[in-house]
């Protein structure tokens, strides 16, 4: 009680004027029944008979105080998001403040099993696109609580922001990937119990744990004493993910001797009802200990990892889905002697070790320092082949559309072949070897090659991180109305990108040469070498076996450090937050293999002499030598950001607050290097990303009503990205570096939960997200190919990126893709006697397909005749809008207490009850053009590829606690 800090709400409640003043009251602490952790923002309503006497909101540490009560009998009703409503009787005697001590709430267990597992793992690696999920945590925000759970199936992104902008912290350390910036949920998926305890702020709000950006900040505590006490277990099946998840956890809570221990283990196994070839064989373990030395010092040690593998899902064209009559067709797998095998398997084992020190010398000061180290391996398999036919079943030359097109300009008209291709794909079960990967053939081919040289292998692309992080934060209550928050952080990241031979598929070896270079440079064998140094030493290309590195090998090196400081000033019902951040970021590439096409110079700066010939290097636009081996130029950025937040509490139930922020951030490593697999070349015009963001919010919380309404406006300028797509026409990776992408995201959010008043314990809940996320600039693009020093297109404008403009001035705006810009949910929620039943109807609209920059260039629009017509502009540059979708979801759950000691419960979530199987959740345009037309006047697009949402599916979770 010493550290009792009243929230402004409680303050407000306590200053309500009454005609008569009493000395009596009631106080206590609201805690979670299971973990005994404080429950913040619980709403306490004091009733006398049917009339409401007073309300209060619990403070950060769960405490509350209701004063000015006359003696008498009261009913105290406690409501908190994600907890069951609880009532207790209170008697106030003799004018004393009655101390209720701990009032425990039982969690609703509305299966907040949201982690990366909730999102299908899309195989996008060879497409040049990415689609990393963002996860909205329920926490205690009414909008996030509903949207986070209901909208995950359509890959809803709050306010249209990308995954990179969502700051995810673990034990005070920012965990967003150093190379890509993506939020890193996969690192702990399967450890739901250990990572359950977290704190989230939205938008540009300021957090105690870090400065944050404009898309919220979530800090996961992750230490032993934050894991719910006791022995717990759960068994879960999810018909759209995996057959079985078993999970167990044990935590001691903080014991009298100052120690706390916690462990969490799980296994996720099996396939699902919807996507063949996708499976899990993933395990997870977590061990943690806390030791409190005295009131002021605490050490936490955490170690966890989620070793395992999972099969990935690939996108196909609508033609394939229609022929198969199945939008969930997955081209990644095939039969090997009658058994299913996936070509694309993600194999990860990335342990994380954390040492954290918390220092709380007084009520006024708390500080912490964390060291976090991430290491291990992250591999992703794929087929690779040398001078052999493309083994992918849905390769465009295997499809009916390759043999007939009603447009005669496409030059495709062979009805015999068309009919046969159609026969194959419409009778897929009769042609499993043609409609899925034919593993047996790959082995059969390898078995008859001279010298045991495999033509097909399974490669494993590695992205292995060595990530060392240091973070220190403090919070100092400098004065009654001033809180200062700040921190320092540093990161050293060395990520090795390479690939190994994972499976020779029956052959004896694979040869470490560049297949595509061989086509152009067969007469110069040195140019074919992926490892020229090996060739120079041994006089022949390297033969590689299982586990050997080949193809490419380089380090991405990232360093950053920075500091931040925020201050919160409170004047009565008004408070203001002001903060700033300053940082330094640098990164470079360090090549570990000398590639024949980009040999550079030798160690002394002289031309390399190979096979008796001195090799002329190629040069970068800035005149430096293009090189594959060694350290690249170091890109350095000074980053800074500032934020202001204003907050006004009205009458204890209502809050109006606003935030504004400006961010100057460094681009990411993967947005900068043109072709990191082969050389040090970087985007010529590197600029920091500049973001301005502001939001205005209104929140009401009282009488069982929870509402939040927000309006936001954000501009993000000078974004760049490099899309690296496998082009099977060139048999090489083609790289598109785009810079100068500006976007504007604006919209409104509404979330509410209100009692129906008609039926007790029945609430009406809903969310509405109306956004407009659009591109506002004309970026530039440079196209290169991995296997050539030439620049295919050099810094050309992409004039149709932000819109399609016809000659009469008609414009069609282009939008930020891969999330619905309109999303709504309306439903009923019933909570009583440890039962909960939720039923929701959802609508999603205004979702757009990701665009490729090539189709928005003058080159693509003009076609071969160099003549731009409106028809070509409209055809080539338009952006596809997905059909809107309606979904119905129902959840039901119940828990029982047995002998007041054990708890058993279940929850069943049935999703997409309308069995809507035509909801596109993402996809991409292929980055290439059809040019072999009759007229030689124009280009055509290749069909885009899509991912679809599963039909009706369910998740059943049974949990128990001892």
């Amino acid at each position: 009680m010493k550290r009792l800090f009243l929230t402004m709400a409680a303050l407000a409640a306590s200053v309500l004027l009454f005609a008569q003043q009493y000395s009596g009251g009631v106080k206590g602490t609201v805690v979670d029944r299971n973990g005994r952790q404080a429950v913040e923002n619980a709403r306490l309503t004091l009733l006398q008979g049917a009339s409401e006497i007073a309300t209060a909101v619990s403070a950060e540490d769960g405490t509350f105080l209701i004063e000015n009560l006359a003696d008498g009998m009261y009913t105290l009703v406690i409501n908190a998001p994600e907890y069951l409503e609880t009532q207790v009787q209170v008697t106030v005697n003799d004018g004393y403040v009655k101390n209720m001590f701990n009032l425990s709430l039982t969690g609703v267990q509305r299966v907040t099993e949201l982690d990366e597992d909730s999102f299908a793992a899309f195989d996008l690696e060879d497409s040049g696109y990415n689609d990393n999920p963002t996860i909205l945590f329920g926490s205690n925000d009414v909008f996030n609580n509903i949207a986070g759970y209901n909208f995950s199936a359509v890959r809803f992104r709050a306010r249209g922001y990308s995954s990179e902008s969502q700051d995810v912290y673990l034990a005070g350390v920012k965990m967003n990937d150093a190379i890509t910036g993506y939020s890193p949920f996969s690192l702990w998926s399967g450890l739901n119990e250990a990572m359950r305890s977290k704190e989230t702020v939205n938008g540009a709000e300021m957090s105690d744990f870090g400065f944050g950006g404009y898309n919220g900040l979530t800090n996961i505590f992750g230490n032993a004493s934050n894991v719910r006490k006791g022995l717990r277990g759960s068994v879960l099946t999810n018909s759209s993910l995996y057959r079985l998840r078993v999970m167990g956890s044990y935590a001691t809570g903080l014991m009298d001797n100052g120690w706390a221990f916690a462990a969490n283990v799980s296994a996720r196994l099996g396939g699902n009802d919807w996507i063949d070839g996708v499976y899990y064989r993933s395990f997870a373990y977590y061990l943690a200990a806390d030791k409190v030395f005295n009131d002021a010092n605490k050490l936490s040690l955490v170690f966890f990892a989620t070793p395992g593998q999972r099969g990935a899902q690939n996108a196909s064209t609508q033609e394939v889905y229609d022929l198969m009559r199945d939008n969930m067709y997955n081209s990644n797998w095939g039969y090997q002697n009658g058994r299913v095998r996936n070509t694309r398997v993600r194999k990860t084992n990335e342990p994380i070790a954390i040492l954290k020190y918390d220092f709380t010398p007084s009520d006024k000061f708390e500080g912490s320092a964390t060291v976090l180290y991430r290491f291990g391996k992250n591999g992703y398999t794929a087929l690779d082949w040398y001078d052999a036919q493309d083994p992918r079943p849905d390769y465009y030359r295997n499809l009916p559309s390759y043999f007939f097109d009603a447009n005669s300009d496409m030059n495709r008209n062979n009805m015999l072949k068309y009919a046969w291709a159609n026969e194959v794909w419409t009778h897929a079960s009769d042609f499993p070897e043609l409609t899925h990967v034919n593993w047996d053939r790959l082995y059969q081919v390898n078995a008859i090659q001279e010298g045991g040289r495999s033509k097909y292998v399974q490669e494993e692309r590695h992205v292995d991180q060595r990530d060392l992080n240091l973070a220190a934060t403090f919070k100092w209550r400098a004065a009654e109305n001033l809180v200062l928050n700040g921190g320092l952080n540093a990161r050293i990241n060395r990520t090795e990108y390479y690939k190994i031979v994972a499976d020779l598929l029956g052959g004896g070896h694979f040869v470490n040469i560049d297949n595509f270079a061989e086509r152009d440079f067969a007469a110069q064998p040195y140019k074919l070498q992926n490892d020229l140094n090996y060739y120079m030493k041994h006089g022949a290309a390297q033969q590689v076996g299982v586990g050997d590195k080949y193809g490419y090998d380089y380090y991405a090196q990232v360093r950053n450090f920075g500091g931040w400081l925020t201050g919160k000033l409170t004047f009565g019902n008004f408070s203001a937050h002001l903060g700033g951040q300053l940082g330094y970021e640098s990164f470079w590439r360090d090549g570990l293999m000398r590639k024949g096409l980009f040999p550079g110079l030798d160690a002394n700066g002289n031309k390399l002499v190979v096979d008796g010939v001195a090799i002329d290097p190629t040069y970068e636009p800035d005149g430096t030598v293009t090189t594959s081996l060694g350290k690249s130029k170091v890109s350095k950025f000074l980053t800074y950001a500032g934020k202001l937040g204003l907050n006004y509490v009205i009458g204890g139930s209502m809050r109006v607050y606003a935030n504004v922020g400006y961010f100057n951030e460094a681009p990411k490593f993967n947005q900068v290097f043109l072709s990191p697999r082969t050389r040090n070349s970087i985007v010529s015009d590197l600029k920091p990303i500049k973001t301005f963001s502001t939001d205005l919010n209104w929140q009401y919380s009282g009488n069982g009503i929870n509402v939040r309404a927000t309006a936001y406006y954000t501009t993000i300028g000078d974004q760049s990205k490099v899309m690296s797509a496998y082009d099977d026409l060139q048999n090489a990776f083609s790289n598109f570096a785009i810079s100068g992408i500006d976007q504007r995201n604006m919209g409104v959010e509404l979330g509410f939960k209100v009692p129906t008043y008609l039926v007790e314990n029945l609430s009406l809940q809903g969310v509405l997200a109306l956004g407009r996320y659009e591109y506002t600039s004309t970026p530039r693009m440079t196209q290169t190919v991995d296997n050539s020093a030439e620049t295919v297109m050099d810094n050309v404008l992409v004039p149709y990126w932000k819109n399609t403009v016809l000659s009469d001035g008609t414009k069609y705006q282009h939008y930020v893709p891969s999330t619905p810009q309109t999303a709504a949910s309306l439903g009923l929620s019933y909570n009583h006697n440890y039962w909960f039943i939720d039923a929701d109807v959802e609508y999603f609209g205004d979702s757009y397909l990701d665009m490729n920059p090539l189709y928005r260039t003058d080159y693509a629009v003009a076609g071969l005749d160099n003549n731009i017509t409106d028809e070509e502009v409209f055809y080539m540059t338009s952006q596809e809008k997905f059909d809107p979708a309606w979904l119905v979801n129902v959840s039901i759950g119940k828990s029982w207490y047995i002998q007041r000691k054990y708890q058993l419960g279940f929850s069943l979530n049935a999703k997409n009850l309308l069995n809507n199987r035509s909801v596109k959740t993402g996809g991409y345009e292929q980055t290439r053009l059809v040019d072999n037309t009759v007229s030689k006047e124009r280009f055509y697009r290749f069909d885009p590829k899509y991912f679809y949402m599963a039909g009706t599916n369910y998740m059943l979770n049974i949990y128990f606690r001892f």
């Binding site: 018909s239 396939g271 001078d387 052999a388 030359r397 072949k417 593993w439 007469a523 009759v934 049974i958």
Partner: protein, 386 residues
């Protein structure tokens, strides 16, 4: 409840699906089964010879019927890249080009391997007089072939059956008389499509190559503004005395890089843009200088300001070359693809200067009434010093 979940999870556990989850070992792949005459599906029991098959040809191409099967041994190998999307098989009566439209056929079809072809439903056609077995021709306006590629695996699987691995065939040595006989027989000449060795070929000091300055634009004969011929003028009067009609090309063909080197060498500067009777002028000029405003000039876009030479460098691709040789009084072209791995290999200097003759092994074909050689691989050329 726990049991129910486990039951629910396991009752759906299709055996196939649990395999990758619970099986940590390797799955033994199904072995390749090679066909024998007794296992061929629907085999009539009778093979037609390749010679008999060719005799069924009718102008414009003919769909084969009558339960026709042929068999032969593989004589071609596309490893070097000089052959592309075609497989040659031969029996004792002759050889034929089976247009299996896949790349890297040598992965699946080995030299000397027995191949059985169920011909019904395939189309026997001719390409400039050369027999080919493919599928019905594409019904497109640009189509200039009597057959199309057998490129859909489902169709290949119904017509092409792989048999036992035999020993690679020894090429027959043929002389001028046999070649002349085959040329006069035309389409049914026994040599076409066969792997043969011709000895004592003498270099003819001329080459033929057709170049497309902008390789992305139309290649048709109706687009002379995008054609450059490297050849010896048909008309004696047009020949420049003393001019080197090899155009300085001393390699079998030219990769993209070498093509650029050749363009820049200046040896081609007198080559004219144009085709047939439409001649614009040498490649040192610009489209803008040669072409009237309109579609054809416009199609060059801003490139119209560049010289043709510059355009050729900008849109360079690998290119084939035909070298002329003579055997007595018979001319034989050796045509090599720019994508062949040996494309940039130089012809032996003794061949070029005429001090040596050469023995060539390859697939012999007929092209517009003339004999043409396709090298399967470079080593099949052996130089005989006179």
């Amino acid at each position: 409840m726990f049991a129910a979940t486990v039951a629910l999870a396991s009752c759906q556990s299709l055996k196939e699906e649990w395999d990758p989850v619970l099986t940590f070992g390797e799955i033994e792949p199904a072995p390749l089964t090679l066909y024998t005459e007794s296992t061929l599906p629907g085999f009539s029991g009778h093979f037609t010879t390749i010679k008999q098959l060719k005799s069924k040809y009718k102008g414009g191409g003919v769909e084969v019927s009558g339960n026709t099967w042929i068999k032969g041994q593989v004589t071609s190998d596309d490893r070097s890249g000089n052959l592309y999307r075609e497989l040659y098989i031969q029996d004792e009566t002759g050889g034929i080009d089976v247009k299996i439209g896949k790349s890297s056929l040598y992965s699946d079809y080995k030299l000397g391997q027995w191949i059985y072809v169920y011909c019904d439903g395939l189309t026997l056609g001719a390409y400039n007089g050369m027999p080919q077995l493919g599928l019905e021709a594409d019904n497109t306006s640009t189509n200039e072939y009597e057959t199309s590629y057998i490129d859909l695996q489902a169709i290949i699987d119904q017509h092409i059956f792989r048999g036992a691995y035999g020993t690679p065939l020894t090429p027959a040595v043929v002389g001028e008389a046999e070649i002349k006989a085959a040329l006069s027989a035309g389409y049914t000449g026994e040599l076409w499509g066969k792997l043969v060795t011709v000895k004592g070929l003498k270099y003819g000091d001329e080459i033929f190559a057709l170049l497309y300055p902008n390789s992305n634009l139309a290649h048709k004969s109706g687009n002379p503004e995008n054609r450059v011929f490297l050849s010896t003028p048909q008309n004696e009067r047009d020949r420049i005395p003393g001019f080197d009609y090899t155009w300085g090309i001393d390699t079998w063909a030219m990769s993209k890089a070498l093509y650029i080197d050749y363009i820049r060498s200046g040896n081609w500067d007198t080559a004219e843009v144009g085709s047939g009777s439409t001649r614009y002028g040498p490649i040192t000029g610009r489209p803008k200088d040669y072409l009237p405003p309109g579609i054809t000039l416009q199609s060059f876009g801003t490139d119209a300001d560049l010289t043709y030479k510059e355009i050729m460098v900008k849109y360079a691709t690998a290119n084939y070359v035909s070298h002329y040789f003579t055997l007595g009084g018979t001319s034989i072209q050796v045509r090599t693809s720019g994508y062949a791995k040996f494309s940039d290999e130089k012809l032996d200097a003794r061949i070029l200067d005429g001090s040596a003759t050469v023995d060539i092994t390859g697939i012999l074909s007929i092209y517009s009434g003339a004999a043409q050689f396709t090298l399967v691989d470079e080593p099949s050329v052996s130089v005989q010093v006179n």
